[in-house]
Symmetry: D3
Subunit: 278 residues, 6 copies
């Protein structure tokens, strides 16, 4: 049976920690490298509901996209939800591994899975290529098989992503025909100018606030914007990462069992609108 160290080696061969941003915190968060690993759960967020799912299923390792401690901590005491998570995992011999911005820029990476989920076909190229290897990078640009109205693309994207309470928000003329699309899993505001410069018809991402979105739309003739739930844009990658880990291990004669968490960890569980009252 493989050890945690073996699995970490395999994961880091695919998601090299040197590709992570300097402010990021990726790699093994807890666990003993000599422990044996049989069951691996993939999830977006390292939260209590995911830890329970891991416990119930008997997982030996949880692989998440988001770091537990993005900024350093000096205490893991069980007086906070994060420390409690560390205690739960360590006491139950469950490791925690994070692939974050190193998975974002990998080839294939987080935005490749997102691009396919919203219906892009054909080749995908990074929206913001990495300096050292332009096949890697943040975001992906691809195309729809044929131009469709923006509203129709938004409906397709909603259908391709896991359901969340808030769904997708769209800025732009619903009737505008769109074909060339940029996507970026997670918070995409740092890529707004890049998306405009790329000349795409739509930029689909998450966590856009009022001021960046408003200023982007005021500067006329740019792409339409679609804002989805942060969690929903990164979830499609989990199946991809799980599949590749299992295949790569199998190719070495190692059997690991993988599962993608279906717990919705988007914070918003319901919505309210004026229309609800008509």
């Amino acid at each position: 049976m493989p050890t945690l160290a073996d699995i970490v080696t395999e994961l880091e061969s695919r998601y090299d920690p040197r590709w992570a941003e300097s402010w990021d915190a990726v790699g093994l968060v807890c666990g003993d490298p000599s422990a044996e690993v049989r069951r691996i759960l993939f999830a977006v967020d390292p939260v209590a509901a995911v830890a329970e799912e891991a416990l119930d299923w008997g997982a030996d390792l949880v692989v998440t996209h988001h770091p537990l401690y993005l900024r350093g901590t000096t205490s893991v005491a069980a007086t906070t939800f994060k420390g409690r998570l560390v205690h739960t995992l360590i006491k139950n011999d469950i490791g925690l591994f994070t692939a974050h911005t190193n998975a974002d820029v990998a080839d294939p990476g987080v935005s490749d899975a997102l691009a396919r989920a919203v219906g892009l076909t054909g080749p995908l190229v990074p929206l913001s290529p990495s300096a050292d290897d332009p096949r890697r990078g943040l975001g992906r640009v691809g195309s729809l098989a044929a131009p469709v109205p923006l509203a129709e693309f938004a409906r397709r994207a909603a259908r391709g992503l896991p359901a969340t309470a808030g769904g997708l928000r769209v800025a732009g003329d619903p009737g505008r025909h769109v074909q060339r699309i940029a996507v970026s899993g997670g918070s995409g505001d740092s890529l707004l100018a890049t998306a405009r410069a790329a000349g795409v018809d739509v930029f689909l991402t998450a966590d856009l606030r009022h001021h960046p979105a408003s200023e982007f739309m005021e500067a006329s003739d740019g792409p339409a914007l679609i804002d989805a739930a942060h969690w929903a844009t990164e979830w499609p990658w989990l199946a991809d990462a799980a599949y590749h880990l299992a295949s790569a291990s199998a190719a070495k004669g190692i059997t690991v069992e993988t599962r993608v968490s279906e717990t919705v960890t988007d914070a918003w569980n319901t919505t309210a609108k004026c229309e609800d009252f008509t």
Copy 2:
């Protein structure tokens, strides 16, 4: 007829520029202090659609909540939408005045109007009182007349705010009974810890991203969260500001005509969800 300088004096007596945050940019953005002012339009955002509304109505002054140039500029050439706005306003003798964080902390201020719009009754106190005068401050805490389920409060809040495509997103148990409510117009993530410490049942604000919202909800036993459109949370203040300017002027024998813009300047104009396809 009053001059622009007179109106600025009146507005700044209510929204003292010294109350603004050090990073903010408030006050007169363009216009000649000796120009005469008869018609004043109030709006949240200094954008093209608002300038057109001002032109159509014959406004002499636009008062906005958001600054045009929050960070300094070295050019107002009409090569950007902001420079074009400056040209339009100056060529048509329309001034632009901003009351931003000084209006947020004023008594009454932006969050007072928001609190009333979502149904809070009785006295309101600042969520984060100003050091020099605790009657001023960011956010407001108030109460509903009687406890209601969270879902019911969310419906009331949606009814009380101007309609936007995205409506309100809610995090928390919909059946939980809530009565004590904190609200803060605009981006409220910097007040999350304060809202928790205040022990309220709900914190209603705008522009909450995945990580702050998720970490807030994971730390158990805190308030529920409601996230509305940034624009919608600040719009209720416009009528309040317009009313007080007109009254204060009238008390001095000066007649000014005020209007609140009804242009929705939220960037998102439509939504898409999975349910749309079932």
Copy 3:
């Protein structure tokens, strides 16, 4: 008739904005890129007297060496002389364009015109060459046709530059023979060490204060110093810039009318000395 955008393109082909220092603010400050441009006034400083000259002459564009807003502004309200200038220019359809450190380092640039004005002949080379292209750079080094006493060179330089109240101040032995000369238009204290290292006989520049000048002269065996009015050292460039813009436009079949402002914008209008009282 050319548009403002056409003229900006022409000016920037000569004074590339990428050559400007990172702290500088060059390019179009106000004006509509689609406006037509017939008359262009060149001046050192964007001040009220220059704006009046532009109005009187019917200029469509003012090209200045100094930026109006070197540091960013968040307001152009007509409550300051700078905001008033913006209002005057925009209301009268006059654009404002700045070529500052990008004109300093251009080939030919500000210091080439200064060098010729004070009598340097033969080839000129940058005093501090640009890293990416050594033909460009700050300051120029050239030679007089024959060695002359320092006092004689100072007299010639005074004759070659436009008259100002303060004239030129000279540090060094008046009888010392000089031939190899470095000049730098505008404030030159940052180039003092470079001028010493270049081994020239004189360094002529502007805005030298007591401490840099005193320390420079105390370190023996270096160049003599001549300090002229900042305005006077940059004024010779205006004619050069105007001539090249007109010629380049004419070569494309475009006629523009250019004029060099003769308004003295040096702040000092008179002097007083002990000798006045003998």
Copy 4:
């Protein structure tokens, strides 16, 4: 039986975390606040040998002077000795609590115990009093019952402190009579100037490097210096802290068992000198 939370409350009533330096990391590092605590081990350093001692004795809590993670960490994986310590402690239900600079400045604190250990009698006052309460502070100043030669005081100090390989190093005239003594547990270089200003005869501390010590001794007429092992200067405090925790608990009818670790965690285990070869 008391919970970990009870013990933390008791410890923090004596070593208030607000007294810690801003760069410090004190308080509970791991452990579940609801766990029961019966046996508490006190040690200077959170290292493997101390964790083993805790395991062997059946401790529920280790209280150390030094933080495990003075700078924040983003991982507690058992790939480093610190992460391995966290795993050992959590898997064995042992908490870890740190009182560092808050114990240094407490009254009584780390340097009170050191002062008594090296033979100071009578009242002790802080060498560098805290701004908000001058009874607290860094270091202590006290006196010997009678003046003795420096060499004699050094011998007494060596006898009073736990033995380490390196012993004490002394700078100053061995025959000089000394009586007024400043001591500071742990690294004392930041207090050298304060000790000189205090006019004491000797300053005893730890971790003094060549340059601070040499410059201190070159400036004539100051105190002599004694440099002991960092660990040895802080160890005397453990018994004091353990005694007070046990008494305070007993006064509330709570029985806890305390033990002071006798593991020497000074890194240096042996020495070599020229004399060894004569």
Copy 5:
């Protein structure tokens, strides 16, 4: 005979080093505190010509206004003019003492002497009072006995100050009547806004560059400006400082001989103007 330490004590009782700006470097620069002092030379600048004057006269101490090393040095080797000065002074047993910004703000201080030199009568108050004692501060504000045209005041100021090659430069309407005057010895650009706020008719100082002076004059209705040689504005203080040191010493029965250097250490020794050639 007094020692250098005695004289330093006397000077610092008048020019307290704690009054100096945090970036300044005042006090004893070289010399042995136990050396005897009989002759003291006062000068503005610590330069070679002043050191020669000190040697020739047999001075034991030079008191200057300007620091030799405003920024720290790591070498006083005689490879620079400053290091050579240190060698000359030390080898000839001459001390060097600096009173700079502590003399500027003293009462009376540098600008008091300047104010009297240019003809101000009656009480003088600081232009920018010190926070801890408003009788001290930078600059002085005073009045002429009666209003005179600006040109006339400039002539009087030129007559009252030691002659320099450049004389005084004046900005403002020469016929404007002026009476209330602010003066500040040395570089005064940091006080421009304060002078405007003080509502004086003229601000006389030194080392004003083009941009601050031009922007100051463009903002209409402010004071006129007069720019003198830095050295000339500080020289009047030397006699005042020498007189007070001698008197204070005499009052204690100590005789010291003082002298004010008449070496002009302004860098500019001649000028050239167009008019020279007519």
Copy 6:
């Protein structure tokens, strides 16, 4: 007879000042470059005892490893021991020259002499090679002729270095056999990680404090540590530097007399241990 300038040139050809760290202060500290130099004293520290030795011997120049003013000073007055040293040296025509981090990284440099002193044979390579020339760098790695127990190597090292009160402190299993050794003269804590990565058996350096040493030893399977007196680790280099200066000068027909100071400038002059009392 050579001048000081000649000797500086010779020394800097061997210890190029451009190799020094950016924070370092190397080169000539005092002295007149045209002075003649016959006798040169080499010492580690620029302290009073060394200056006396120079005076007694009639030295014209002192070459030290440590800078007198590592951080800049604005005064060399004889009110501090450093200023007094400058006065003594200048008044007695003795120059002071420092080769610090430029001597550390030279080839051969400070750690080469240390390596030979503790018995390393065969080729030596830098522990941390310089980026621009890997033959230079900090520390040296070399080997013993045959493996010996750590305790035996420590004894040899103690025998090879000049005696100090504290001797050497050793961390690690005394019986462990060691052969591959890294050494670094002076404070070596910044090289701890490099020494571990180099896979050596021992790292011998100076000035190691408790926390770096303790954390280094806790991380198992790394090198043993030996901590010597800072002064003792740099002293062996003096003879090397003196020899090379004399030879290089002789090769040019110049005779200089050199001497290595035998004054122990380690601050610690005696020790005390518990054993002393048994």
